[in-house]
């Protein structure tokens, strides 16, 4: 219809500054990668531990892990982001709270990573648990029977297989974390969605902006997918046929 197309917009200068819109998008892409990847590392670590604890024989630990999962997966990410940013610091002692709010380096980034990491950790934990439980009980028995302690059994026998089994769902989660990182704009991280809003506001070329951003997100998800496929291939156990035929 009567939309005014302008594909050259990316190379134009922003209204009040030296840089071009392309520079904005590149900065945004950088922050998106930083948030997503850092949060992913955190999610894997926490999720691995919490998921393992959910299968632990100690009731107390398992209960703690269950609470963790239920808390972080039952509230929308956007709302959690807000709670971490605005509500949690107010619960802390005044000095610490002020430090976090004013002087902590990269405070939006840290909050976003913390929030996204914990949110994703709950999902990763569920998958780790499913992976552990999908292994025949005999594997645990066999580990214990040759004299491993329970932690050793997890370390050498159960987790290496569990993680291999859950690579496909982990792949989805890894792709998701790039997409979910877009919520970080809500607390002012200068990531891709943030820059897109900024650019569309500044340039009034919304469709070009969103198209570019969509393509960038697609690239993230695609690369994440290929990367995980590579890992899956590398870690494939010869002769082992996954549960599904």
């Amino acid at each position: 219809m009567n939309y005014h197309w302008n594909w050259g917009i990316f190379l134009e200068q922003v209204k009040a500054g030296e840089e071009t819109y392309l520079d904005w998008l590149i900065t945004g892409f950088g922050w998106t990668l930083a948030v997503a990847l850092t949060a992913w590392v955190m999610a894997l670590l926490c999720g691995g531990i919490i998921g393992t604890l959910r299968t632990a024989p100690q009731r107390g630990l398992a209960f703690f892990a269950t609470c963790w999962v239920e808390l972080f997966r039952n509230i929308p990410l956007l709302v959690q982001m807000f709670l971490w940013f605005f509500v949690v610091p107010e619960l802390l002692p005044r000095e610490l709270s002020l430090w976090i709010k004013q002087d902590m380096p990269a405070k939006e980034f840290v909050t976003a990573v913390l929030c996204l990491g914990l949110f994703t950790s709950a999902r990763v934990a569920e998958q780790v648990r499913a992976g552990v439980q999908s292994l025949p009980n005999g594997q645990r028995m066999a580990g214990l029977a040759i004299g491993f302690t329970l932690p050793q059994t997890y370390r050498y026998v159960i987790l290496p297989m569990a993680f291999r089994i859950i690579i496909p769902p982990l792949t989805s989660e890894f792709m998701n974390i790039f997409k979910n990182s877009s919520v970080a704009f809500a607390i002012g991280v200068l990531e891709l969605t943030f820059q897109a809003r900024q650019m569309q506001e500044d340039s009034e070329q919304g469709i070009e902006t969103y198209l570019a951003v969509t393509v960038l997100y697609f690239i993230c998800a695609f690369v994440a997918n290929r990367g995980m496929a590579f890992i899956e291939k590398r870690s494939r156990v010869p002769g082992f046929i996954a549960t599904s035929k």
Partner: protein, 277 residues
């Protein structure tokens, strides 16, 4: 064109903002109300009589600052009654009714901080809302040159104000009418003040599709008549100088000289013309 479309469909779609206090927002019953909504209703009435329609169905489509322009261009929204700044870039995509409100970009601070000017903000966190260009305006202002602002972004005005409230920022740079609205509804209105240099003057106007002379003409006439008859002053007083829903707060925001002057001779000149140095 719009009038033909309205005639054939028997309905017109108004774009509304849900929290552009007090220009366009929702009351407790989710009905859009506000200064611009009232003006738009007049326009709708005029459309109705012009087209000789007995009934005209009015749809309300909530819009955001991201989607309002695409929604107007793609035909979803016929009449955007929000709080859109009229500027040159936007005029590439859409057309504007004559300016009905003028806002000044200034900053809100906590009185206790003692801040009164841009020059005191060096090294301090300054809140602004994502998608707005306040920071660029600060940098561009002569007093802002060379000062190192640490900008922090809220995703909307309520969030940005919350940053000021929770001491994440010492100042919040925004349209003064919005600041005034946020302050009167805050928990301790007396704690805050709007201070400092005017960074930009922005004409706010109702938005319509481009290259639609008939509809544009009708809209222009309605607003000119409102201005001439002085009715627009009554509308202004109703929303800016008296208690308004939902909480009955009074903005106490007198009409600026700029707007008074402008209403004498309504025009759709973009922001750039007001801020020429």
């Amino acid at each position: 064109d719009t009038l033909a479309k309205v005639k054939s469909s028997g309905s017109i779609t108004m774009g509304i903002r849900e929290s552009s206090y007090p220009l366009s927002y929702l009351d407790d019953k989710q009905q859009p109300i506000g200064y611009h909504i009232d003006i738009c209703n007049r326009i709708v009435d005029a459309v109705k009589s012009k087209l000789n329609l007995k009934t005209l169905k009015v749809n309300h489509q909530a819009v955001t600052s991201q989607n309002r322009i695409p929604l107007v261009t793609n035909g979803t929204v016929d009449l955007e009654c929000g709080s859109t700044t009229n500027n040159v870039a936007r005029q590439n995509q859409v057309a504007f009714a004559p300016t009905t409100f003028v806002t000044n970009v200034r900053m809100a601070v906590k009185k206790a901080s003692g801040i009164t000017s841009l020059t005191q903000l060096g090294g301090k966190p300054v809140a602004t809302t994502t998608g707005t260009t306040s920071v660029q305006l600060m940098r561009a202002h002569e007093k802002g040159k060379g000062i190192d602002f640490k900008e922090v972004y809220g995703k909307d005005h309520a969030d940005s104000f919350l940053m000021l409230e929770t001491d994440r920022a010492v100042a919040f740079v925004m349209d003064d009418n919005l600041l005034a609205g946020l302050i009167v509804t805050s928990k301790n209105p007396a704690d805050y003040a709007i201070v400092g240099e005017t960074l930009n003057i922005e004409p706010i106007a109702i938005m319509i599709r481009k290259e639609d002379p008939q509809f544009q003409g009708l809209v222009n006439t309605v607003i000119r008549d409102l201005a001439k008859s002085g009715e627009i002053d009554k509308l202004y007083a109703k929303w800016f100088m008296a208690p308004i829903p939902p909480k009955g707060a009074n903005m106490n925001f007198p009409m600026s000289d700029k707007l008074k002057e402008l209403l004498k001779n309504p025009s759709d000149a973009p922001a750039e013309q007001y801020n020429r140095k």
